[in-house]
């Protein structure tokens, strides 16, 4: 490496992205290179900024649900969940158990699907083409399950304030069971392809080390933090949406390198399978929507027989429901870390302010820390290992 005095004269500035397949979206990195060594990496973001937070202020609480899907397009249901939990907290509304369990089930499937996209793209970045194809094959099945319940593969918008949009079809649980019957073997297959693969190990072990203190300081969360020895998972430590009723382990590794983050995510897939299985086996019966006058749409049958129900239906559809004034910060463990919604209400039917604390935004901030001083080729592995989604960084 060049010493500091001559570095300026010998470095080359290279623009990587925003159109670059390994940046997982539209991330732009301005690299200062000394030969093949990264001296400085400066992320430039905002290419996917669509003003979602501003748009939320212009929508009713109900309409804003569809915007939350678009924030993190690899885990739309996690975003739906976080937003509806925040609004439910403002309203003091408790969804019925069946809705809660279905939410958990779908959320863990989302986590698996998201980790599969991460594993596939991360592996293809490093050169393992076939893993990508296998991962997307399994993800497809999960997307079909989402389509079955919500009618949409990706932008599901399936959760509602107070419960679920529609009753899950009876085929849901058999379909999930069928998936779980073969999926654990497939995870073992990915492991066979990668975990002891000498090329994979040499590309990932000891690469992109993020120390525990740095992870904490930069606000890194999720698997990226757990790969650096931070034993913290909101599902276990600050349970929401009934997670306290499920048994699972939180994988933690101390090494802090790309390989550690890979092992953590792979184990998380297994733990998610456990949770999905528990949710499937213990699924309670009953309604999927809470009841509250003026907030929750009345049942169809009642609308045909009761004047009051008809009026409420009209009012909720045309002007939305009013949410008591206040502010809440609701955080959930998304596949990438702490996803938080800060919702401020001024007592009207439109949110006064919605702020999305997206995990990738904070995680990306630590990228220069883990990439600087390493080779350009390692940078690709580093970007892949923090699993960013530009949609939620730029919002």
């Amino acid at each position: 490496m060049a010493d500091a005095a001559t570095a300026g004269a010998r470095t080359l500035t290279l623009n990587m992205g925003p159109q670059h397949p390994s940046t997982h979206g539209v991330l732009r990195l301005i690299l200062e290179l000394d030969g093949e060594t990264v001296v400085r990496a400066t992320p430039e973001i905002g290419y996917l900024h669509t003003g979602i937070e501003k748009s939320c202020e212009d929508k009713t609480y109900h309409q804003a649900i569809t915007l939350t899907d678009r924030i993190d397009y690899l885990s739309p249901l996690t975003n739906n969940l976080c937003y509806v939990l925040a609004v439910e907290k403002l309203l003091g509304l408790e969804p019925p158990p069946r809705a809660v369990w279905t939410r958990v089930l779908l959320n863990e499937l989302t986590r698996i699907a998201s980790h599969l996209v991460w594993l596939g793209t991360h592996a293809i970045d490093i050169g393992a083409m076939s893993v990508f194809l296998y991962c997307f094959r399994e993800r497809e099945e999960i997307l079909k399950i989402f389509e079955l319940v919500s009618g949409q593969r990706m932008m599901t918008s399936y959760f509602r304030v107070g419960g679920l949009a529609v009753e899950p079809p009876p085929e849901l649980l058999p379909r999930v069971k069928k998936f779980l019957d073969y999926f654990p073997d497939r995870v073992a297959e990915y492991e066979e392809l990668l975990t002891r693969n000498p090329i994979w190990i040499s590309r990932t072990k000891g690469v992109g080390v993020l120390r525990k203190e740095d992870a904490l300081d930069f606000g890194v969360t999720g698997p990226s933090a757990r790969g650096s020895g931070i034993d913290w998972d909101l599902r276990r430590d600050m349970p929401y949406s009934g997670y306290e009723q499920f048994q699972f382990e939180v994988p933690v590794r101390q090494e802090g390198d790309v390989y550690a983050r890979y092992l953590v995510r792979l184990e998380e897939i297994r733990q998610s399978i456990r949770i999905v299985r528990q949710a499937m086996e213990g699924m309670p019966a009953g309604p999927v929507m809470a009841e509250r006058k003026g907030v929750i749409l009345p049942q169809r049958e009642k609308m045909k027989t009761e004047m009051e129900a008809l009026i409420y239906h009209f009012k909720i559809v045309t002007e939305g429901y009013r949410v008591p004034a206040g502010e809440v910060y609701q955080a959930v463990e998304s596949p990438r870390g702490e996803m938080g919604y800060y919702v401020v209400s001024d007592g009207t039917s439109h949110p006064y302010r919605v702020k999305v604390r997206s995990p990738s935004f904070a995680n990306l901030q630590a990228l220069p820390k883990i990439a600087e001083g390493r080779m350009v080729a390692d940078l690709i592995a580093c970007i892949g290992s923090i699993d960013i989604v530009l949609g939620e960084i730029d919002r």
């Binding site: 905002g46 403002l90 606000g219 931070i230 910060y329 006064y352 302010r353």
Partner: protein, 156 residues
């Protein structure tokens, strides 16, 4: 702030013990604690909370525009203590005219980008910030989109 409120909220009590001028209000709503901090003391409060109350993790920094009322802006900080599994919200009220507040990026490095985003979206200046540039909007953009007097649609 009266002492009865502070006694129920240990974080507020800890800050007030050090300097009674730091905390202006303390409240608990829907299980969430909010401390309103005097803007001049934010850096100090952040340091104290990190060092003495274990808030090692800054989840988020954001702002709310209360236009047209004054003080117009609220800068919001969400803190997390892993050890006690507690969250804390700090709030600083700033005037609409030339809003500025001291940066906390020296306390938590995570604040660097969060504060840049608040600057970009609301035009609140963070003094002592190492790199206060726009982050999401293009560098030559005019205006601050999340202000309430900035239109949602249409040509400005």
């Amino acid at each position: 702030m009266n002492s009865a409120e502070a006694a129920q909220i240990p974080d507020a009590a800890a800050l007030s013990e050090y300097d009674p001028a730091i905390v202006l209000e303390a409240s608990r709503d829907r299980g969430e604690v909010t401390l309103v901090i005097a803007p001049a003391h934010i850096r100090h409060a952040a340091e104290l909370l990190k060092a003495r109350r274990g808030y090692l993790f800054l989840s988020d920094v954001t702002a709310v525009d209360r236009y047209p009322s004054e003080p117009r802006f609220e800068v919001i900080y969400h803190l997390l203590c892993h050890e006690r599994k507690e969250r804390l919200r700090l709030k600083c009220r700033l005037p609409g005219e030339d809003p500025q507040i001291e940066s906390v990026s020296g306390v938590w490095r995570a604040a660097n980008w969060y504060e840049r985003e608040v600057f970009d979206m609301f035009g609140i200046r963070f003094t002592g910030h190492p790199d206060l540039r726009r982050i999401l909007m293009p560098e030559d953009w005019e205006g601050h989109p999340l202000r309430k007097d900035y239109p949602v649609t249409g040509y400005r």
